[in-house]
Amino acid sequence: MINIFSLVAGIFITGVAAYLGSLMLSKKMALAAGPLGHLTLPGIALALIYGFDVTLGAFPFVILGIILIWLLEMKTKLPMEALTAIVFASGVAIAFLFLPIDQAEAALVGDISKIGLEDMIFSICLSLLVFVMLIKAYSKIVLISISEDLAKVQKIDVKKYNFIYLTMIAIVVALGVKIVGGLLTAALVAIPAAASRNISRNLFEYSFFGIFFGVLSCILGIFLSQLYGLPAGVLIIIINTAIFLITMILKRGK
């Protein structure tokens, strides 16, 4: 039997994650989700050991991650890629410092079967919150990623919107760990949007196909996981990747 709670929660979370992904227009933005996802691992580890919700465990670490990325970016001249590598490695290392190895799979790739009614309601509420924030901030963030100067001339508070953007990533990444675990949560944001970008001519198509691919992968992944007894999180990401490859071929054919 499919756990209906996890299916519904999954649809909301992957949908909003993909929508958010369609805002990752500049390189700097696209890279932020990766390290944040990996930084959740120690939090997830704590949640699994003490038996509380993984999203709650992940959240403080994501906040820490936002502050870290901000500080590192301002204080050092290192390229974002190097920072990502540092944060990624330390997140995983710290998690395994105290996480029992038999629980490692749930932390790394998620365990969707644990989602209950309360989790589902909680996930839907947070997803909807981010969804509303996204609709309100979307055009301003697009303009900022085209040109901060143009945005400032329009009297858009760039710092404020960067912060809103990071907050949305934090919530989505913390929600994503429920579905696909700390290792893969950034992929829920990045891959559907990347696939959609291959075939979209405008912003509307970009976010529409992104959400569509994200939700489709989630539904297919959960069904296939029932059929084959494999972790749903892993399958969701693999299906996402398959869609990405297909869109790449379609793009070439154009």
Partner: protein
């Protein structure tokens, strides 16, 4: 501020990472005027525009007329071509109404609205430049700040753009500040000219720029080829 002025700049100095990019600049711009800012590469022209827009820290005084609305046409937008974004969606980022977009496009001589559905990345460089101008004009600004408007586009399009700007200036009493390194544009287009190479080397009517000043500006490589249209 004196009546009829739209901008007053006094003793403006801009330093970036302790390098003085602009030194002690003083000039004024009247309402409805066209001012070209002329200078070689690295003279601080773009920095001046950005400072006037409030994007860079400065010392000295920049006074705009109260509640002024500024339109800005940047030199380049390197990222925009990679974004799946249609021309119409680009304009909508500035909350433009359908009617307003049509109006400006009409004035620019682009009557076909098929261009609105095109992807920004698929535009020719001339079309792209025009799109940036339309974008800047949305919301009816009183001043247009223009950074190298015709770099890298063909002469035909260049002419259209200048004709259009002249028309807009007359029609809407638009004040235009235009950065360029092309001295011909100065003669053609502007009422006043500011020659800039870190400091102001001349300020006034373009016809009064002397060859000596130009030599100082460009370092001896420039000659004015006078030619008359009788």
């Amino acid at each position: 501020m004196e009546k009829g002025l739209i901008l007053e700049v006094k003793n403006l100095t801009v330093e970036l990472e302790k390098d003085a990019i602009l030194k002690n600049l003083t000039f004024q711009v009247k309402e409805g005027e066209a001012l070209t800012i002329l200078g070689p590469n690295g003279a601080g022209k773009t920095v001046l525009l950005k400072t006037l827009l409030g994007l860079l820290p400065y010392n000295g005084e920049i006074k705009w007329k109260k509640n002024i609305k500024i339109g800005y046409v940047p030199q380049r937008l390197p990222f925009i071509k990679d974004i799946p974004l249609s021309v119409k969606e680009f304009f909508k980022l500035k909350e433009a109404s359908e009617k307003e977009i049509q109006e400006i496009l009409f004035l620019l001589g682009m009557k076909d609205s098929y261009i609105l559905e095109k992807k920004i990345g698929d535009l020719s460089s001339g079309q792209f430049q025009k799109m940036l101008i339309v974008f800047a004009l949305i919301g009816n600004p009183q001043v247009l700040l223009f950074d190298e408007p015709t770099a890298g586009i063909d002469i035909g399009t260049e002419e259209t753009i200048y004709t259009f700007l002249k028309k807009m200036r007359k029609k809407k009493n638009l004040t235009i500040l235009l950065v360029t390194h092309d001295i011909n544009i100065v003669y053609e287009f502007s009422i006043h000219c500011l020659c800039l190479n870190k400091k102001a080397l001349c300020f006034g009517h373009p016809k009064k720029i002397t060859p000596e000043q130009l030599t100082e500006l460009y370092g001896g490589k420039v000659k004015i080829y006078e030619h008359r249209h009788d």
